[in-house]
Protein backbone atom coordinates (compact mmCIF):
# COMPACT_ATOMS: atom_id res chain seq x y z
CA UNK A 1 0.00 0.00 0.00
CA UNK A 2 1.58 3.22 -1.16
CA UNK A 3 0.02 6.12 0.67
CA UNK A 4 -2.10 6.57 3.72
CA UNK A 5 -5.40 8.08 2.55
CA UNK A 6 -5.80 11.72 3.55
CA UNK A 7 -9.37 12.27 2.40
CA UNK A 8 -12.09 10.38 4.20
CA UNK A 9 -15.86 10.02 4.20
CA UNK A 10 -17.73 12.28 6.57
CA UNK A 11 -18.62 10.76 9.95
CA UNK A 12 -22.32 10.89 9.06
CA UNK A 13 -21.63 8.85 5.94
CA UNK A 14 -19.83 6.22 8.02
CA UNK A 15 -22.73 6.09 10.48
CA UNK A 16 -25.14 5.46 7.62
CA UNK A 17 -22.79 2.85 6.20
CA UNK A 18 -22.61 1.03 9.52
CA UNK A 19 -26.33 1.16 10.21
CA UNK A 20 -27.08 -0.05 6.70
CA UNK A 21 -29.10 2.95 5.55
CA UNK A 22 -26.57 4.30 3.07
CA UNK A 23 -27.51 3.67 -0.52
CA UNK A 24 -26.16 0.41 -1.90
CA UNK A 25 -23.98 1.98 -4.59
CA UNK A 26 -22.57 4.60 -2.24
CA UNK A 27 -21.79 1.82 0.22
CA UNK A 28 -19.61 0.28 -2.49
CA UNK A 29 -17.58 3.50 -2.61
CA UNK A 30 -17.23 3.57 1.19
CA UNK A 31 -16.25 -0.09 1.18
CA UNK A 32 -13.59 0.59 -1.46
CA UNK A 33 -12.16 3.37 0.69
CA UNK A 34 -12.10 1.11 3.75
CA UNK A 35 -9.98 -1.34 1.80
CA UNK A 36 -7.20 1.25 1.81
CA UNK A 37 -7.90 3.11 5.04
CA UNK A 38 -7.10 1.59 8.42
CA UNK A 39 -8.14 4.85 10.08
CA UNK A 40 -11.72 4.56 8.82
CA UNK A 41 -11.80 0.81 9.47
CA UNK A 42 -11.13 1.65 13.10
CA UNK A 43 -13.88 4.22 13.08
CA UNK A 44 -16.26 1.73 11.54
CA UNK A 45 -15.34 -0.82 14.21
CA UNK A 46 -16.15 1.76 16.88
CA UNK A 47 -19.46 2.63 15.25
CA UNK A 48 -20.32 -1.03 14.99
CA UNK A 49 -19.57 -1.42 18.65
CA UNK A 50 -22.01 1.39 19.43
CA UNK A 51 -24.54 -0.19 17.09
CA UNK A 52 -24.06 -3.54 18.79
CA UNK A 53 -24.59 -1.99 22.20
CA UNK A 54 -27.78 -0.25 21.08
CA UNK A 55 -28.83 -3.57 19.61
CA UNK A 56 -28.25 -5.36 22.88
CA UNK A 57 -30.37 -2.74 24.64
CA UNK A 58 -33.19 -2.94 22.15
CA UNK A 59 -35.14 -5.59 23.98
CA UNK A 60 -35.80 -3.45 27.00
CA UNK A 61 -36.56 -0.40 24.90
CA UNK A 62 -38.97 -2.43 22.92
CA UNK A 63 -40.79 -3.79 25.90
CA UNK A 64 -41.07 -0.36 27.32
CA UNK A 65 -42.48 1.25 24.23
CA UNK A 66 -44.82 -1.33 22.81
CA UNK A 67 -46.00 -4.82 23.28
CA UNK A 68 -46.05 -5.49 19.62
CA UNK A 69 -43.25 -7.98 19.71
CA UNK A 70 -45.07 -10.28 22.07
CA UNK A 71 -47.65 -10.88 19.35
CA UNK A 72 -44.89 -12.43 17.32
CA UNK A 73 -43.67 -15.81 18.41
CA UNK A 74 -40.02 -16.66 18.24
CA UNK A 75 -38.79 -19.22 15.78
CA UNK A 76 -38.47 -22.72 17.08
CA UNK A 77 -34.99 -23.89 18.00
CA UNK A 78 -35.47 -27.43 16.77
CA UNK A 79 -36.70 -26.27 13.38
CA UNK A 80 -33.64 -24.09 13.15
CA UNK A 81 -31.30 -26.93 14.03
CA UNK A 82 -32.76 -29.21 11.41
CA UNK A 83 -32.35 -26.48 8.81
CA UNK A 84 -28.74 -26.04 9.82
CA UNK A 85 -28.02 -29.72 9.59
CA UNK A 86 -29.50 -30.01 6.12
CA UNK A 87 -27.58 -26.93 4.99
CA UNK A 88 -24.15 -27.82 6.18
CA UNK A 89 -22.82 -29.26 2.96
CA UNK A 90 -23.92 -26.28 0.88
CA UNK A 91 -21.92 -23.84 2.94
CA UNK A 92 -18.60 -25.48 2.31
CA UNK A 93 -19.07 -25.41 -1.45
CA UNK A 94 -20.03 -21.73 -1.47
CA UNK A 95 -16.72 -20.63 -0.07
CA UNK A 96 -14.64 -22.03 -2.90
CA UNK A 97 -16.81 -20.14 -5.42
CA UNK A 98 -15.74 -16.81 -4.01
CA UNK A 99 -12.11 -17.80 -4.18
CA UNK A 100 -12.46 -18.73 -7.82
CA UNK A 101 -13.45 -15.19 -8.73
CA UNK A 102 -9.89 -13.96 -8.52
CA UNK A 103 -8.60 -16.46 -11.04
CA UNK A 104 -10.77 -14.89 -13.68
CA UNK A 105 -9.15 -11.48 -13.31
CA UNK A 106 -6.05 -10.09 -14.95
CA UNK A 107 -3.22 -9.64 -12.43
CA UNK A 108 -3.41 -5.85 -12.57
CA UNK A 109 -6.78 -5.97 -10.86
CA UNK A 110 -5.67 -8.20 -7.98
CA UNK A 111 -4.91 -5.40 -5.56
CA UNK A 112 -8.27 -3.70 -6.00
CA UNK A 113 -10.88 -3.82 -3.24
CA UNK A 114 -12.70 -7.15 -3.29
CA UNK A 115 -16.08 -5.63 -4.08
CA UNK A 116 -14.65 -4.12 -7.26
CA UNK A 117 -12.85 -7.34 -8.16
CA UNK A 118 -16.15 -9.13 -7.83
CA UNK A 119 -17.95 -6.66 -10.10
CA UNK A 120 -15.17 -6.91 -12.66
CA UNK A 121 -15.23 -10.69 -12.56
CA UNK A 122 -19.00 -10.74 -13.00
CA UNK A 123 -18.93 -8.55 -16.05
CA UNK A 124 -15.56 -7.65 -17.49
CA UNK A 125 -15.19 -3.92 -18.08
CA UNK A 126 -15.83 -2.60 -21.53
CA UNK A 127 -13.72 0.52 -21.78
CA UNK A 128 -15.00 3.45 -23.76
CA UNK A 129 -12.40 5.91 -24.88
CA UNK A 130 -13.71 9.38 -24.27
CA UNK A 131 -10.72 11.50 -25.14
CA UNK A 132 -7.07 10.79 -25.79
CA UNK A 133 -6.40 10.76 -22.07
CA UNK A 134 -9.65 9.48 -20.68
CA UNK A 135 -11.56 6.19 -20.63
CA UNK A 136 -14.56 4.99 -18.68
CA UNK A 137 -16.14 1.60 -18.00
CA UNK A 138 -19.50 0.92 -16.40
CA UNK A 139 -19.72 -1.54 -13.55
CA UNK A 140 -22.79 -3.61 -12.82
CA UNK A 141 -23.78 -2.93 -9.23
CA UNK A 142 -27.37 -4.14 -9.26
CA UNK A 143 -29.25 -0.93 -8.59
CA UNK A 144 -30.74 1.95 -10.52
CA UNK A 145 -30.14 5.06 -8.47
CA UNK A 146 -26.46 5.56 -9.21
CA UNK A 147 -24.08 5.18 -12.07
CA UNK A 148 -21.13 3.09 -10.93
CA UNK A 149 -18.09 3.20 -13.16
CA UNK A 150 -14.33 3.07 -13.41
CA UNK A 151 -12.62 6.17 -14.76
CA UNK A 152 -9.12 6.02 -16.15
CA UNK A 153 -7.13 9.12 -16.92
CA UNK A 154 -3.69 8.73 -18.45
CA UNK A 155 -0.58 10.20 -16.87
CA UNK A 156 -0.62 13.97 -17.06
CA UNK A 157 -4.08 14.00 -18.62
CA UNK A 158 -6.28 17.02 -17.91
CA UNK A 159 -10.00 17.30 -17.64
CA UNK A 160 -11.70 20.58 -18.46
CA UNK A 161 -13.32 22.38 -15.59
CA UNK A 162 -16.76 21.06 -14.84
CA UNK A 163 -19.44 21.33 -12.22
CA UNK A 164 -21.36 18.62 -10.41
CA UNK A 165 -25.09 18.21 -10.96
CA UNK A 166 -25.65 15.20 -8.73
CA UNK A 167 -23.75 13.94 -5.70
CA UNK A 168 -20.75 11.90 -6.71
CA UNK A 169 -18.40 9.78 -4.66
CA UNK A 170 -14.96 9.07 -6.05
CA UNK A 171 -12.31 6.75 -4.69
CA UNK A 172 -8.79 6.74 -6.12
CA UNK A 173 -7.81 3.14 -6.82
CA UNK A 174 -4.44 3.65 -8.49
CA UNK A 175 -2.20 6.60 -9.23
CA UNK A 176 -3.23 10.08 -8.22
CA UNK A 177 -4.79 13.26 -9.49
CA UNK A 178 -5.03 16.82 -8.29
CA UNK A 179 -7.41 19.71 -8.56
CA UNK A 180 -7.24 23.31 -7.40
CA UNK A 181 -7.42 22.34 -3.76
CA UNK A 182 -5.73 19.02 -3.20
CA UNK A 183 -3.81 16.02 -4.38
CA UNK A 184 -5.76 12.78 -4.20
CA UNK A 185 -3.87 9.54 -3.87
CA UNK A 186 -4.64 5.87 -3.63
CA UNK A 187 -7.55 5.25 -1.30
CA UNK A 188 -8.63 8.87 -1.03
CA UNK A 189 -12.35 9.46 -0.90
CA UNK A 190 -14.08 12.50 -2.39
CA UNK A 191 -17.68 13.54 -2.19
CA UNK A 192 -18.69 16.23 -4.63
CA UNK A 193 -22.07 17.77 -4.16
CA UNK A 194 -24.23 19.48 -6.73
CA UNK A 195 -22.70 22.84 -7.51
CA UNK A 196 -19.11 21.92 -6.71
CA UNK A 197 -16.73 22.88 -9.47
CA UNK A 198 -13.28 21.55 -10.09
CA UNK A 199 -10.66 20.74 -12.71
CA UNK A 200 -8.91 17.43 -12.07
CA UNK A 201 -5.61 16.47 -13.60
CA UNK A 202 -3.80 13.15 -13.32
CA UNK A 203 -0.27 13.15 -11.96
CA UNK A 204 2.34 13.05 -14.65
CA UNK A 205 4.12 9.86 -13.68
CA UNK A 206 1.28 7.39 -13.66
CA UNK A 207 -2.19 6.65 -15.00
CA UNK A 208 -4.97 7.30 -12.53
CA UNK A 209 -7.79 4.82 -11.96
CA UNK A 210 -10.86 5.85 -9.96
CA UNK A 211 -14.15 4.41 -8.87
CA UNK A 212 -17.04 6.78 -9.46
CA UNK A 213 -20.50 6.47 -7.90
CA UNK A 214 -22.77 9.12 -9.23
CA UNK A 215 -26.38 9.95 -8.64
CA UNK A 216 -28.68 9.02 -11.49
CA UNK A 217 -30.11 9.98 -13.85
CA UNK A 218 -26.62 10.40 -15.13
CA UNK A 219 -26.71 12.83 -17.96
CA UNK A 220 -23.11 13.77 -17.93
CA UNK A 221 -20.70 11.14 -16.78
CA UNK A 222 -18.22 10.95 -13.94
CA UNK A 223 -15.81 13.23 -12.27
CA UNK A 224 -13.65 13.46 -15.37
CA UNK A 225 -16.17 13.12 -18.12
CA UNK A 226 -19.24 15.04 -17.13
CA UNK A 227 -18.58 17.85 -19.58
CA UNK A 228 -18.90 15.34 -22.39
CA UNK A 229 -22.57 14.80 -21.80
CA UNK A 230 -23.68 14.96 -25.42
CA UNK A 231 -21.33 12.18 -26.46
CA UNK A 232 -21.54 9.58 -23.79
CA UNK A 233 -23.98 8.20 -21.32
CA UNK A 234 -23.64 5.98 -18.33
CA UNK A 235 -26.55 3.75 -17.56
CA UNK A 236 -26.93 2.58 -14.01
CA UNK A 237 -26.94 -1.15 -13.80
Amino acid sequence: MNAIPQHHPDKNVLVEFVSGSLDHAQSIAVSAHLHYCAHCRNKVATLEHIGGTLFSLSESADQKNNNQSSALSSPCFDTLMSRIESNEQKVTTQKSETEQVDHLLPPKYKTLPSVIRKMLANSPPSWQRVTASLSTANLVAGQSEYGVSLQKISAGGKVPQHDHRGAEMTVVLKGSFSDEDNVYQQGDFLLKNPGDIHRPRASSNEDCLCLSVEQAPVKLTGLFTRWLNPFIRINPA
Binding site: K11, N12, V15, E16, V18, S19, G20, S21, L22, H24, S27, I28, S31, L34, A38, R41, N42, V44, A45, T46, L47, E48, H49, I50, G51, G52, T53, L54, F55, S56, L57, S58, E59, S60, A61, D62, K64, Q68, S69, A71, L72, S73, S74, P75, F77, L80, M81, R83, I84, N87, V91, S114, V115, K118, M119, V140, A141, G142, Q143, S144
Partner: protein, 216 residues
Amino acid sequence: MTVHLIRSPSTPTKAKDKQKMTSQTTDIQIWNDHLVRLGKEQNRDSFKALFDHFSPLLKSYFIAKFPTQQSYQMIDELIQEVMIKVWNKSSAYDSNKAAASTWIFTLARNTRIDMLRRQSKHNNTTSIEVEDIWEDITDNGPYTFLTHKRDEERIRESLLSLPQEQQTVIRKVYMEAKSHTEVAAELKLPLGTVKSRVRLAQKKLELLLVDDNLEP
Protein backbone atom coordinates in the same frame (compact mmCIF):
# COMPACT_ATOMS: atom_id res chain seq x y z
CA MET B 1 -30.03 5.45 38.22
CA THR B 2 -31.77 3.93 35.26
CA VAL B 3 -31.93 0.45 36.64
CA HIS B 4 -35.06 -0.46 34.77
CA LEU B 5 -33.23 -0.56 31.47
CA ILE B 6 -30.45 -2.78 32.60
CA ARG B 7 -31.30 -6.36 31.94
CA SER B 8 -30.88 -8.59 34.87
CA PRO B 9 -27.95 -10.88 34.19
CA SER B 10 -29.39 -13.81 32.36
CA THR B 11 -28.11 -17.20 33.27
CA PRO B 12 -27.28 -19.52 30.42
CA THR B 13 -28.14 -22.55 32.49
CA LYS B 14 -27.90 -24.92 29.57
CA ALA B 15 -24.17 -24.37 29.29
CA LYS B 16 -22.07 -27.28 30.37
CA ASP B 17 -19.06 -25.33 31.57
CA LYS B 18 -21.07 -23.42 34.04
CA GLN B 19 -18.27 -23.46 36.53
CA LYS B 20 -16.35 -21.08 34.32
CA MET B 21 -18.91 -18.40 34.82
CA THR B 22 -17.95 -16.75 38.00
CA SER B 23 -20.25 -14.24 39.53
CA GLN B 24 -18.04 -11.47 38.24
CA THR B 25 -18.50 -12.45 34.67
CA THR B 26 -20.57 -9.88 32.93
CA ASP B 27 -23.20 -10.29 30.30
CA ILE B 28 -20.77 -9.41 27.57
CA GLN B 29 -18.30 -12.10 28.47
CA ILE B 30 -20.94 -14.76 28.84
CA TRP B 31 -22.08 -14.27 25.26
CA ASN B 32 -18.55 -13.91 23.96
CA ASP B 33 -17.64 -17.21 25.61
CA HIS B 34 -20.65 -18.97 24.19
CA LEU B 35 -19.84 -17.73 20.73
CA VAL B 36 -16.21 -18.80 20.99
CA ARG B 37 -17.26 -22.23 22.20
CA LEU B 38 -19.72 -22.52 19.34
CA GLY B 39 -16.97 -21.67 16.88
CA LYS B 40 -14.47 -24.11 18.35
CA GLU B 41 -16.64 -27.07 19.18
CA GLN B 42 -19.94 -26.49 17.40
CA ASN B 43 -21.31 -26.65 20.90
CA ARG B 44 -25.04 -27.04 20.67
CA ASP B 45 -25.76 -25.89 24.22
CA SER B 46 -23.91 -22.67 23.62
CA PHE B 47 -25.86 -22.20 20.43
CA LYS B 48 -29.11 -22.73 22.29
CA ALA B 49 -28.07 -20.17 24.89
CA LEU B 50 -27.17 -17.66 22.18
CA PHE B 51 -30.43 -18.39 20.42
CA ASP B 52 -32.47 -17.84 23.58
CA HIS B 53 -30.71 -14.59 24.33
CA PHE B 54 -30.40 -13.06 20.90
CA SER B 55 -33.57 -14.03 19.09
CA PRO B 56 -35.72 -11.58 21.13
CA LEU B 57 -33.14 -8.86 20.40
CA LEU B 58 -33.19 -9.74 16.72
CA LYS B 59 -36.95 -9.63 16.83
CA SER B 60 -36.92 -6.08 18.18
CA TYR B 61 -34.30 -5.11 15.66
CA PHE B 62 -36.27 -6.35 12.66
CA ILE B 63 -39.58 -5.06 13.95
CA ALA B 64 -38.05 -1.59 14.10
CA LYS B 65 -37.61 -1.69 10.33
CA PHE B 66 -40.59 -3.85 9.41
CA PRO B 67 -43.27 -2.85 11.92
CA THR B 68 -46.42 -4.12 10.23
CA GLN B 69 -48.11 -7.38 11.12
CA GLN B 70 -47.73 -8.62 7.57
CA SER B 71 -43.99 -8.74 8.14
CA TYR B 72 -44.17 -11.15 11.08
CA GLN B 73 -43.56 -14.23 9.01
CA MET B 74 -40.67 -12.55 7.28
CA ILE B 75 -39.19 -11.48 10.60
CA ASP B 76 -39.33 -15.05 11.81
CA GLU B 77 -37.44 -16.06 8.69
CA LEU B 78 -34.90 -13.26 9.15
CA ILE B 79 -34.18 -14.31 12.72
CA GLN B 80 -33.54 -17.85 11.53
CA GLU B 81 -31.28 -16.59 8.77
CA VAL B 82 -29.18 -14.62 11.24
CA MET B 83 -28.91 -17.55 13.64
CA ILE B 84 -27.87 -19.83 10.79
CA LYS B 85 -25.13 -17.35 9.96
CA VAL B 86 -24.10 -17.31 13.61
CA TRP B 87 -23.74 -21.07 13.45
CA ASN B 88 -21.88 -21.11 10.14
CA LYS B 89 -19.52 -18.22 10.79
CA SER B 90 -18.83 -18.62 14.48
CA SER B 91 -15.41 -20.13 13.84
CA ALA B 92 -14.33 -16.75 12.42
CA TYR B 93 -15.41 -14.91 15.55
CA ASP B 94 -12.62 -13.43 17.66
CA SER B 95 -13.63 -12.18 21.08
CA ASN B 96 -10.57 -9.91 21.18
CA LYS B 97 -11.93 -7.92 18.28
CA ALA B 98 -15.62 -7.54 18.96
CA ALA B 99 -18.26 -8.32 21.53
CA ALA B 100 -20.68 -11.05 20.54
CA SER B 101 -23.51 -8.51 20.48
CA THR B 102 -21.57 -6.33 18.02
CA TRP B 103 -20.71 -9.28 15.84
CA ILE B 104 -24.31 -10.46 15.75
CA PHE B 105 -25.50 -6.90 15.17
CA THR B 106 -23.45 -6.78 11.96
CA LEU B 107 -24.87 -10.11 10.82
CA ALA B 108 -28.38 -8.83 11.50
CA ARG B 109 -27.68 -5.61 9.65
CA ASN B 110 -26.35 -7.50 6.64
CA THR B 111 -29.35 -9.80 6.65
CA ARG B 112 -31.68 -6.82 6.75
CA ILE B 113 -29.88 -5.10 3.88
CA ASP B 114 -30.08 -8.33 1.94
CA MET B 115 -33.81 -8.58 2.53
CA LEU B 116 -34.39 -4.99 1.42
CA ARG B 117 -32.40 -5.66 -1.71
CA ARG B 118 -34.38 -8.77 -2.49
CA GLN B 119 -37.58 -6.79 -2.08
CA SER B 120 -36.46 -4.04 -4.41
CA LYS B 121 -36.97 -4.09 -8.16
CA HIS B 122 -33.40 -4.91 -8.86
CA ASN B 123 -33.44 -8.32 -7.28
CA ASN B 124 -32.58 -9.93 -10.59
CA THR B 125 -29.07 -8.78 -11.06
CA THR B 126 -25.61 -9.21 -9.85
CA SER B 127 -23.90 -11.63 -7.64
CA ILE B 128 -22.45 -8.94 -5.41
CA GLU B 129 -23.30 -10.17 -1.97
CA VAL B 130 -23.93 -7.91 0.95
CA GLU B 131 -20.84 -9.44 2.52
CA ASP B 132 -18.73 -8.20 -0.38
CA ILE B 133 -19.48 -4.62 0.63
CA TRP B 134 -19.78 -4.95 4.39
CA GLU B 135 -16.79 -7.19 4.75
CA ASP B 136 -15.88 -8.35 8.17
CA ILE B 137 -14.15 -5.11 8.87
CA THR B 138 -13.25 -6.06 12.38
CA ASP B 139 -11.50 -9.10 10.94
CA ASN B 140 -9.24 -7.13 8.68
CA GLY B 141 -8.33 -4.09 10.67
CA PRO B 142 -5.46 -3.74 13.09
CA TYR B 143 -8.13 -2.51 15.48
CA THR B 144 -8.08 -4.43 18.67
CA PHE B 145 -11.22 -4.29 20.61
CA LEU B 146 -10.64 -4.15 24.30
CA THR B 147 -13.30 -6.16 25.94
CA HIS B 148 -13.76 -3.92 28.86
CA LYS B 149 -16.52 -5.41 30.80
CA ARG B 150 -17.87 -2.01 31.58
CA ASP B 151 -18.01 -0.88 27.97
CA GLU B 152 -21.55 -1.89 27.41
CA GLU B 153 -22.76 -0.47 30.67
CA ARG B 154 -20.94 2.76 30.08
CA ILE B 155 -22.36 3.19 26.62
CA ARG B 156 -25.74 2.36 28.06
CA GLU B 157 -25.35 4.97 30.75
CA SER B 158 -24.03 7.61 28.46
CA LEU B 159 -26.77 6.85 25.98
CA LEU B 160 -29.31 7.44 28.67
CA SER B 161 -27.59 10.63 29.69
CA LEU B 162 -27.94 12.06 26.21
CA PRO B 163 -30.64 14.64 25.66
CA GLN B 164 -33.84 12.92 24.60
CA GLU B 165 -33.67 14.47 21.13
CA GLN B 166 -30.26 12.92 20.52
CA GLN B 167 -31.35 9.55 21.86
CA THR B 168 -34.32 9.50 19.53
CA VAL B 169 -32.22 10.31 16.51
CA ILE B 170 -29.44 7.85 17.27
CA ARG B 171 -31.90 5.01 17.81
CA LYS B 172 -33.68 5.73 14.57
CA VAL B 173 -30.39 5.76 12.75
CA TYR B 174 -29.05 2.49 14.14
CA MET B 175 -32.08 0.43 14.98
CA GLU B 176 -34.51 1.53 12.30
CA ALA B 177 -31.66 1.98 9.81
CA LYS B 178 -33.08 5.25 8.63
CA SER B 179 -30.89 7.56 6.63
CA HIS B 180 -30.35 11.04 7.99
CA THR B 181 -32.68 12.32 5.29
CA GLU B 182 -35.43 9.90 6.30
CA VAL B 183 -35.09 10.80 9.97
CA ALA B 184 -35.28 14.49 9.08
CA ALA B 185 -38.46 13.94 7.09
CA GLU B 186 -40.06 11.82 9.82
CA LEU B 187 -39.29 14.24 12.64
CA LYS B 188 -39.92 17.27 10.45
CA LEU B 189 -36.47 18.65 11.18
CA PRO B 190 -33.93 20.24 8.89
CA LEU B 191 -31.35 17.74 7.64
CA GLY B 192 -28.57 19.80 9.19
CA THR B 193 -30.18 19.49 12.62
CA VAL B 194 -30.39 15.72 12.34
CA LYS B 195 -26.80 15.50 11.19
CA SER B 196 -25.53 17.60 14.06
CA ARG B 197 -27.56 15.62 16.61
CA VAL B 198 -26.11 12.40 15.29
CA ARG B 199 -22.64 13.86 15.40
CA LEU B 200 -23.03 15.14 18.95
CA ALA B 201 -24.47 11.89 20.25
CA GLN B 202 -21.87 9.90 18.40
CA LYS B 203 -19.08 12.00 19.80
CA LYS B 204 -20.17 11.47 23.39
CA LEU B 205 -20.54 7.75 22.92
CA GLU B 206 -17.20 7.48 21.19
CA LEU B 207 -15.29 9.41 23.80
CA LEU B 208 -15.76 6.49 26.14
CA LEU B 209 -14.39 4.02 23.66
CA VAL B 210 -11.59 6.10 22.28
CA ASP B 211 -10.26 6.86 25.75
CA ASP B 212 -10.08 3.18 26.39
CA ASN B 213 -8.30 2.49 23.16
CA LEU B 214 -5.61 5.03 23.79
CA GLU B 215 -4.61 3.40 27.00
CA PRO B 216 -1.84 0.90 26.45
